[in-house]
Every structure is written in structure tokens, then in C-alpha cells.
């Protein structure tokens, strides 16, 4: 059936809560307000205040309480309103959720799901718009995913709840109103594999989350010029599915990494390094990157759009690889 990304998240939450009595949702305004992005609308009425818990504005403590509840046998789903706010809880995620299993010599595990919105494009300026996924993808002990489609928004949430270890889910805020197909009968989907969203032979465009649509639009534009770009949706940011990327690069011989994070020390930098390590001799050209301009996100629409990766920048990057190194 056709549904929005937002509705797909809601369906996933609803299914999770129905399926597993240990599951509960907690976060700022997830209950009465229905979620800052309306992802949990109606769930309070359906599941009650014990399982749909509005929290105070205490990111560190309600994320930490999620970790504690996971240790205590529950399956908490913690919603943090945006990735920028999640920095207040970074301590709990990095110093506790990610470490407890290893630091206890394998005695504990933390089956916690943390969801948060990420990304720019809505003129929310420099404290609500950044893509800081790489902060989390850097950390061993957690898994990090970024569903880019409605089907993944639902399926990856269900899969995350089956994981024994912490999973951080990034939902790009521009995706919520977008429509896509979901199969209601399908449950959890694979969590750690990338997906080839469009096959091509001339260059591989590697991206995730909110940039997938831009990469597909760029590929469409390139196709009109006779250039066939293969588009890979990472889906998982930690671990990275390098075999899928390297297989693609082995036949296209060119790669552009599109990442809404800043270029310096970015996911794009990591992927580029790993392509160099694992596929250097397959390459006809250096790996190119299309990232956000290195500035705090500005408010004015024309400035914000100029700061973000866009389809035309991706088109230009692919063309450049073919023109200079074709």
C-alpha cells in the first residue's frame, strides 16, 4: 500500500508495541502532543500512558533511563526530537549504551532503540538542521541506520527491536511527508545491507537518508545525457556494507559519495578511504564527494539550499569524473 514515511514510522511503532509487551515509547512530546513530527499520533490513546511516556526535557536522563530499562528486560524505543538535541545525551549513548557489553566482559547487553530526526531543508537554522550521524557511526558497540524509504522506515524499526544491542535510527525530517510503497505483510527487514536503488554502469553514487531522492534525481538527469549512474542507498551507517559498494565500483570504476554531513571527517571521508583501501585498482578516477558546505546551517532559504548537497551538484560531480577521467 502507498503511505507516507511518517505513517510508516507510526505503523512500525504500533506493530512493535502490539507485538512485544516489553516495548514502550518514551521521549519529549511523544504522547499527548503526538510526537514533534506526529509519528506517534494516536498511540497514547491506543496504548496508554505507561507505554507511551512523555518525558521532561532531560535528554541525557531519559536516554540513560532507556539504557537502564533495556538492562532491566524491557525493549525501550526512545525518541529524541532532533540529532542536535541528542548531543545532550551523547554521554549516555557513547559512555554507557555502547560500552556496557564489552566493559562488563559480555555479561550485559543493551537492547535499546533510539530514534531521532536529522537533516536540513526546512529553514530551521543552525541548531535544528545538522546531519551529525557520523558522531554515532564512529562508535563501536552501537549500530546506526538511516532508512530512506517508507518501507525501510517501518521495516528497519521492527528489525532494530529484534537486535540485542543498541540501534540508533536517523529519520531525515524532509522524508516524513514523502510517499512510498510498503508491504504490510512484510515484517522486519535486513538491517546491515546497502541497497542498489538504481543500476548503472558509468559511475556509482553512494548516499543515504535524505539525499537518496537527490541522487536518484541526478541519475535521472544524467540518463538523459546517456550517462548511467548506479545509486546505492547505504541504509546502514554502522556497519558499512562495503562489499556492496566495492562490487559496484568494480564495474562502474567511478564513485561519488553524497553525504549531508560536513565534508571534514565525514561518513563520505570514511567511505572514500575504504574504497581506496579495497578498490584502488578498480578506480579510473579519484573518489569524489558532495557534502554540506562547511558552515553552520543558515536560515535564509537560498543560503540553506546552497549549503546542502543538491541534484545539480551530484550531476556535476559525476560529469567531472567522466570528463576528466573518462
Amino acid at each position: 500500500m502507498k503511505t507516507t514515511y511518517r505513517e510508516a514510522v507510526r505503523l512500525g511503532l504500533r506493530e512493535a508495541l502490539k507485538r512485544d509487551p516489553r516495548a514502550f515509547l518514551m521521549g519529549e512530546d511523544v504522547g499527548r502532543y503526538g510526537g514533534a513530527y506526529a509519528c506517534s499520533k494516536g498511540l497514547l490513546e491506543e496504548f496508554g500512558p505507561e507505554r507511551i511516556r512523555d518525558t521532561p526535557l532531560s535528554e541525557s536522563t531519559f536516554v540513560g533511563a532507556g539504557i537502564g530499562a533495556a538492562l532491566g528486560g524491557m525493549r525501550p524505543i526512545v525518541e529524541v526530537m532532533t540529532v542536535n538535541f541528542s548531543l545532550l545525551a551523547l554521554d549516555q549513548i557513547v559512555n554507557n549504551a555502547a560500552t556496557l557489553r564489552h566493559m562488563s566482559g559480555g555479561q550485559l547487553s543493551v537492547p535499546l532503540v533510539v530514534r531521532m530526526a536529522t537533516g536540513g531543508g526546512r529553514q530551521l537554522a543552525a541548531q535544528h538542521s545538522h546531519s551529525l550521524e557520523v558522531y554515532y557511526a564512529h562508535v563501536p558497540g552501537i549500530k546506526v541506520v538511516a532508512p530512506a524509504t517508507a518501507a525501510d522506515a517501518r521495516g528497519m524499526l521492527l528489525a532494530a527491536l529484534e537486535e540485542p544491542d543498541p540501534v540508533v535510527i536517523f529519520e531525515h525530517a524532509m522524508l516524513y511527508p514523502l510517499e512510498g510503497e510498503i508491504d504490510e505483510h512484510n515484517g522486519a527487514v535486513q538491517l546491515d545491507r546497502a541497497a542498489v536503488r538504481r543500476p548503472g554502469r558509468d559511475a556509482t553514487v553512494i548516499t543515504y537518508g535524505g539525499s537518496l531522492g537527490k541522487a536518484l534525481a541526478a541519475a535521472e538527469q544524467l540518463a538523459a545525457e546517456g550517462i548511467e549512474a548506479e545509486v546505492i542507498d547505504l541504509r546502514s551507517l554502522r556497519p558499512l556494507d562495503m562489499p556492496t559498494i566495492l562490487n559496484s565500483v568494480a564495474h562502474t570504476r567511478r564513485a561519488v559519495v553524497v553525504d549531508e554531513g560536513w565534508r571534514t571527517c565525514s561518513l563520505a571521508a570514511e567511505i572514500s578511504a575504504q574504497i581506496m583501501e579495497g578498490g584502488f585498482f578498480d578506480l579510473d578516477a579519484p573518489v569524489a564527494r558532495v557534502c554540506s558546505v562547511e558552515t553552520p546551517m543558515p536560515y535564509a532559504a537560498h543560503l540553506e539550499q546552497a549549503a546542502l548537497p543538491q541534484a545539480d551538484k551530484i550531476v556535476a560531480a559525476v560529469r567531472e569524473l567522466l570528463d576528466r577521467h573518462g
Binding site: S58, T61, G64, A65, G68, A69, N95, M103, S104
Partner: protein, 338 residues
């Protein structure tokens, strides 16, 4: 320094033998912590133990008085000064010593060291070395119990330094708001590392802060094991009955440096000497003697038995294997069946 409180009598069990046993148990546990840590300091100097080593010496009455008030189903979230907590909870001295050696037979398989002792079977959830970082975990453990209708208590130990962290206030608020079964047990040893409480708190009466969250609280003499025991029993009972969280402040003092690297430039010797006059072990020993519950021969027997336990812990650590380097990345993630 706060007023000395008069020591009570050991009596609670009616028979003399019962009183004697009870006194012996409290004294024995305090002595074990003291001697175990003295040995640890020695082994640190010998290069057997590395990293940070934070000694609990001087604060033994808090762990020994409070932790037995919990049942085996209850949970404990502790700090990086937790050898005493772990010992009283029943983690074997050998497993703790081996952990400090970094051996595979340590209670965290050599991954944690002195600051990160764990025992899932005893619901001992670490050994947290981020000041204040354990409070939210305790809130969550208690939430899990509440959601699963279990009548359990989570005891969260932390120092006066943690009171300055935002997580202290967030956690007290959330636990009180949701009426969660948490015993917040503050071991106020008057120093946040080297910063005296007067220099880090606008309100130095920590127990008074509970009022801001509508939470009951008490401050007790943390050098008096019987006072701690009595207050902890009362607090645990209230929490278990569903009255919501409770803040218990035990006023104590650490006789040793913050860690093995501390030159103690921030406090005078006279202050330390003054506090040593209220050594919890000496005070309790004197009380037992006064009440005719302890003689020289028995005390010597305690010392002998504790020395034996410490020696066998060292032996266990010395004999333990090293975790193979091939297992370095084991337990970063939970293994999943293929």
C-alpha cells in the same frame, strides 16, 4: 565537620549470641574492605595493578551498613570507587582482584579494571566512571521493574561530586515524577576529587535538595555503621512499598588520596587526622568491646580470616589467565546465531 552522633547499641537480635554474630558480620565486612584495599594499594606500587585505583578506605561503614538492606533481586548501580560496594554485594574478592590485574578470570574479564566491576548475576551494574552517569541507568532499571510489576529496589550510589551534574537533578526529578523505586544513596565524602564541597555546592546540605523534587530524604553519620544500617533499612522499606524514590546522604570521609596519582594539595593533614579519629572500624570495634561483644582473641581471629581471604584473592588473580588478544573485539556486539 558535622556533629558526632552517639553510637547506638548493637542490640537488635534479642540474644547475646545474636548480637555478637551481627556485630561480627558488620565488623568483618568492614575489615575485609580495609585490608583488601590496603593490599590493592601495595600491589599498585608493585606494578601489579594499573590505571586508576580509587580507594574507599574511611567510607566502609556506608557500604556495609546500606547494601545488606537490599535483597538479592534488587539492583545496584555504583561508581568508580566501588570495591567496597562490590565486596559487600558478594562479588568474590578473587574476581575483583583478578579484574584489577586485568585477568580473564576478573569479574569483567579484564575489560573494566578497578572502575568497572560488574556482576550481572548479582544485579551489580557497575562501576560507572562518568560522574553522575549511573543515575539515569538506575532510573531506567527502576522503570523496568515498575513496568513489569516487580517489587524491587534499585540502589544508586554516587558521591557529592555527582550532585553538581545535571543528571543528578534530571534523575531525581524523573524518578520522583514517575514514583520509581530508586534509593539514591549519596556518599558525601566532602570532596569532588580535590574540590571541597563548600567550593562546589551553593547548598552543602545535599539531603535538602530532595525537597525540590518532593522526595523524602535523610542525612546520616556515614562513619557509624549502625546508623547507616538503620537509615538504609527504613529507606529501602519505604521505596519497596511504592512510596517513590528516597535520597539518603551518608556523610563520610575518604582517608586516602582521590586516586594513586593525587598529592593531596587541597586538604591539610590535620583535617585528615581529625576525621581518622572517627574511623568507622575503630568506632565500631570500640563499641563492640564496650558492650562485651568482642575480645582480643576474636579480633585477632577476624584479622587472620580477612588476611586469608585477601591472600587467596591475590593468589586467584596471580594464577588467572590473560584474555587472548584474538578476543579483543569479542563482546563489542552480542554474537548472533548464523
Amino acid at each position: 565537620m558535622f556533629n558526632e552522633t552517639a553510637m547506638q547499641t548493637v542490640a537488635e537480635p534479642k540474644s547475646k549470641a545474636g548480637e555478637r554474630d551481627r556485630g561480627a558480620s558488620l565488623l568483618g565486612q568492614m575489615l575485609l574492605i580495609r585490608r583488601f584495599e590496603e593490599k590493592s594499594a601495595e600491589l599498585y606500587s608493585l606494578g601489579k595493578i594499573h590505571g586508576f585505583l580509587h580507594l574507599y578506605i574511611g567510607e566502609e561503614a556506608v557500604a556495609v551498613g546500606a547494601i545488606p538492606a537490599l535483597s538479592t533481586d534488587d539492583a545496584i548501580v555504583s561508581t568508580y570507587r566501588e570495591h567496597g560496594h562490590a565486596l559487600v554485594r558478594g562479588i568474590s574478592p578473587g574476581a575483583i582482584m583478578a579484574e584489577m590485574y586485568g585477568k580473564a578470570n576478573g569479574c569483567s574479564r579484564g575489560r573494566g579494571g578497578s572502575m568497572h566491576l560488574f556482576d550481572a548475576s548479582r544485579r551489580f551494574y557497575g562501576g560507572n566512571a562518568i560522574v553522575g552517569g549511573g543515575l539515569p541507568l538506575a532510573v531506567g532499571l527502576a522503570l523496568a521493574d515498575k513496568l513489569q510489576d516487580r517489587k524491587r529496589v534499585t540502589a544508586c550510589l554516587f558521591g557529592d561530586g555527582a550532585v553538581a551534574e545535571g543528571e543528578f537533578h534530571e534523575s531525581l526529578n524523573l524518578a520522583a515524577l514517575w514514583k520509581l523505586p530508586v534509593l539514591f544513596l549519596c556518599e558525601n565524602n566532602r570532596y569532588a576529587m580535590g574540590t571541597a564541597i563548600e567550593r562546589h555546592q551553593s547548598q552543602t546540605d545535599i539531603s535538602a535538595k530532595a525537597a525540590a523534587y518532593g522526595m523524602p530524604s535523610a542525612a546520616i553519620d556515614g562513619m557509624d555503621v549502625l546508623a547507616v544500617e538503620q537509615a538504609a533499612k527504613k529507606a529501602v522499606a519505604a521505596v519497596r512499598e511504592g512510596a517513590g524514590p528516597y535520597l539518603l546522604e551518608a556523610r563520610t570521609y575518604r582517608f586516602r588520596a582521590h586516586s594513586m596519582y593525587d598529592a593531596e594539595l587541597y586538604r591539610g593533614k590535620e583535617e585528615v587526622e581529625q576525621w581518622k579519629k572517627r574511623d568507622p572500624i575503630a568506632l565500631f570495634t570500640a563499641l563492640l568491646r564496650e558492650q562485651g561483644l568482642l575480645g582480643d582473641a576474636q579480633l585477632a581471629e577476624f584479622e587472620r580470616s580477612v588476611a586469608e581471604q585477601v591472600a587467596s584473592a591475590v593468589q586467584f588473580a596471580e594464577a588467572g589467565p590473560w584474555e587472548p588478544i584474538e578476543d579483543l573485539t569479542k563482546d563489542v556486539y552480542t554474537p548472533v546465531a548464523p
